[in-house]
């Protein structure tokens, strides 16, 4: 079957190009990475969200100063126990910095206010190692030269002050924000410091944001094989570590939507190769460890780590597999997790009946379509009206998405797991797989679903 038009989309027929039902042998990629249809009730975020919220924000020892009216800063404040964990909890994500632009600043320009704000923030938190300044929509319109202000401020306070031109309206989604953050960090931070010493076994983990501590279960696996991690990008990252990542021997790339840019830039400039990996589920995690081990000639060590880790979780996984086999799941994620997790669901005997992404590009959809079964729905940038239709029509046993879709799913009687910031994670690697499976099992079998009036 070709592209299809959902019933709710009859008034906006352009959505047909974004909606595809998989058929083997076809090479159709749904339309993606384009401007959202106005008024369609999209779930997407903005360029600022991709730059500050996803890539920049996790850096743990810099001031994240948002240049604009107050809302943009407020909305990215905190995160608490749920996302982007770091070991600098006394500062990171505890404080929220903004220039809180007022009408007069919009009329007369905000450069002076920004300069003063940088100095004042640094004066109060002199232990920080840098300042990241993020431009919001209105800054692009009034034309503040934030690069110049940041250079001057950096001279004054003697630490890096880095401008990110990530005005919300620039891109069609969060995706351009990732790209801007990659380019800016590469250009202004990577290569500005040297490690004390080098080993032949130095790697970076690129594209993991330490959601509920993912990195704290990922890193030990590589370390157990004898590898040293110079930097992570950007979960629990120090700006100093990012400054030295160019000296690693290999970039291990997890999120393949938000970070291929910096991996390619490092490959070009420093001849530093990168290796895309999936660190979800037993099969994919084991393959990642084997691939990385083969690069360094550490195959035996990898096998030992894999055997040890798998044996630890196997009994529990068998239990969950038995319980979850045959369950039908609809996955809607930012982009790569939608395809990372198709394999993971297969390992549990589950059927992925649909996959969607918020900001995927065609390479993400190629991977989804290659992995997903015939007849499954693949939809780009689904909006809440479409999601409602899909959940009612396809009746999945489980919907995996983010907070904005969570309560909609509940209200439609569909069991739900938050795949963005997790429920009781972390979900990565071996031990995370057990937690992921347990959460899926928990919601699908929750006794209260049986009590819902009108739920068959």
């Amino acid at each position: 079957m070709p592209l299809t038009l959902l019933e709710c989309d009859v008034p906006i027929p352009e959505r047909e190009k974004h909606t595809y039902i998989k058929k083997s042998g076809e090479t159709i990629i749904p339309r993606c990475n384009v401007q959202t249809t106005p008024g369609d009730l999209t779930e997407r975020g903005c360029t600022y969200a991709g730059c500050m919220g996803v890539v920049g924000g996790p850096v743990k020892d810099v001031i994240h100063l948002v240049h604009g009216p107050i809302g943009c800063a407020y909305y990215t404040w905190g995160g608490g126990r749920r996302q982007n964990l770091s070991d600098n909890t006394g500062f990171h994500r505890k404080y929220c910095f903004s220039t809180s632009m007022q009408e007069a600043n919009i009329i007369f320009g905000g450069e002076k206010k920004l300069y003063n704000a940088i100095l004042e923030a640094y004066e109060r938190f002199p232990e920080v190692k840098g300042v990241f300044v993020y431009a919001t929509c209105v800054i692009g319109l009034i034309g503040d030269d934030i690069d110049k202000v940041c250079k001057n401020a950096s001279k004054e306070i003697g630490i890096p002050v880095i401008a990110f031109s990530c005005e919300g309206f620039r891109g069609v989604s969060q995706s351009l924000g990732h790209h801007i953050a990659n380019d800016t960090i590469f250009e202004k931070i990577v290569g500005t410091k040297e490690p004390d010493y080098l080993t032949p076994y130095d790697i970076n983990i690129i594209g993991d944001y330490n959601i509920q501590g993912d990195l704290w279960v990922i890193n030990p696996l590589f370390e157990a094989m004898g590898l040293r991690i110079i930097g992570t990008f950007t979960g629990n990252a120090s700006i100093d570590d990012i400054a030295m990542v160019h000296r690693a021997k290999l970039n291990v790339m997890h999120c393949q939507r938000s970070t291929p840019y910096i991996c390619q830039l490092m490959e070009e400039k420093y001849n530093l190769p990168y290796m895309p990996v999936s660190l979800f589920g037993i099969e994919q995690t084991s393959k990642a460890l084997r691939d990385v081990a083969a690069f360094f000639g550490l195959e035996e060590k990898a096998e030992k780590v894999i055997e040890e880790e798998v044996s630890k979780i196997l009994p529990e996984m068998e239990y969950y597999k038995e319980k979850l086999t045959g369950k039908r799941v609809f996955i809607y994620q930012g982009a790569p997790r939608a395809w990372h997790w198709i394999k993971l669901m297969e390992e549990l005997g589950m059927e992925v009946i649909g996959a969607a992404t918020t900001f995927g590009h065609s390479d993400d959809y190629e991977k989804i379509i290659e992995r997903i079964g015939d007849g499954a729905l693949v939809i780009d940038n689904p909006n809440s009206v479409e999601l409602k239709e899909i959940l009612i029509k396809y009746k999945p046993d489980l919907f995996i998405s983010g907070l904005k879709e969570k309560f909609l799913s509940y209200k439609l009687g569909v069991p739900f797991v938050n795949g963005h910031s997790y429920e009781r994670g972390p979900y990565a690697a071996y031990s995370g797989f057990v937690k992921f499976a347990r959460d899926m099992y928990t919601t699908i079998n929750h006794p209260a679903w049986k009590l819902v009036e009108g739920r068959a």
Partner: protein, 435 residues
Amino acid sequence: MSQTKTKRSVTINPGMLCQPIGAMQAVLGVHAAIPLVHGSQGCAAYPMRMFNRHFAEPAEIALSSLGEDAAVFGGADNLVKGVHALAARRHPELIAVVTTCLSETIGDDVDGILRKVDLPVKLVPMHTPSYVGSHVTGYDNAVKALVTHLAEQTGPNSKINVTVGLLDPGDIKELKSMLGMMRVKAIILTDITGAFDAPLILPRPPFPDGGTTVGEIRDTANSIGSIALSKHAGGAAVKYLEMKHKVPMIAGACPIGVENTDAFLDNVSQLTGRPVPDELRKERGRLIDAIIDVQFKVAQKKVAVFADPDVASGMARFVHELGMDPVIVATGTESKEFVKDVQAIASQTGHEIEIILGCDLYELHEAIKRVGVDLLMGNTHGKSIADDEKIAFARLGFPVYDRVGYQRIPIIGYNGGINLVDRIANAILDHADAA
């Protein structure tokens, strides 16, 4: 008494949000209404997430999806296309176009654009540039826009209008209960219990049941009077109704605590001629009983309150009624009216109150260190201050998402007061246990 106002260029841990989210909350209290944000993607996605976290409910918010082209050439095409798409797919009764810093700076003539749209749906423009005011003024502007565009004199209706402000579904239920006991018919502006206190029953209706209807908003011009529970968030609407439609208005203190609730009920009585019934007198008696019961647990404790202006000033008086000492009263929204309100409380009660205006939480934290405080009351973001200073913490305001259920528990009226007595006393007891 002293009044502090930060002179910093940097805001650290803000005490307010921007105007659009306040407007969206007001619109979501209208039945079958959808806010359409005229801005970039984050302007809808972020507020949606904030509502999800605080209310544990879905929130339907549309967007005109302004991109780079719109920033250069204007957003009229996006807006017109957006309104049509939304009307055709969702069939709402009302679409409120909520502007942002982006669309206001581009300079789109939203009112003019909407006038040319011919659709069987009420279109209400709401001007809420993010660089003016706060979420509180955004709410105020939104409710004013609703009555300005809809209210219509047809004939007396023997109801009163009550604008709520940025209170929770629990508060609105309590308000309805009080008015019900007085047998007063009211139009509530706006009633978010439909959207944000919805049952899980299948099939789900196309729009949540409940909420203020468009017809009710139209009818506000015919009411016998209006009361603003939060003068900063809803006050502009009742003023407009008085000016334009001669509906007498009262904008007193937010009914938090004994005297503020007494005054509110007296006002309802005065407008409607209905006496305050025995049932409510008994509720009052229960609140006072609860206050007396905890006196030795809470008396003389020094309290810092930070919240939106009307909740903060209402709370300040209640803190006094509890025999506690309101030493700091802070709000993120700039307002001379707020300063006057708190000054009046200070002079009537004899407390030395430090007022912090346009406050961020960094400023509040510095003040708490300077003054010395036993209990902090405020939203989720106050928790880290209480932890750092090792003082008791009682949650209040928006957003509260580090604990569950706060949106369900009223703080207004006598019953709300009882809830607050328990919350405050238990916070102090829990803190003493942990120490």
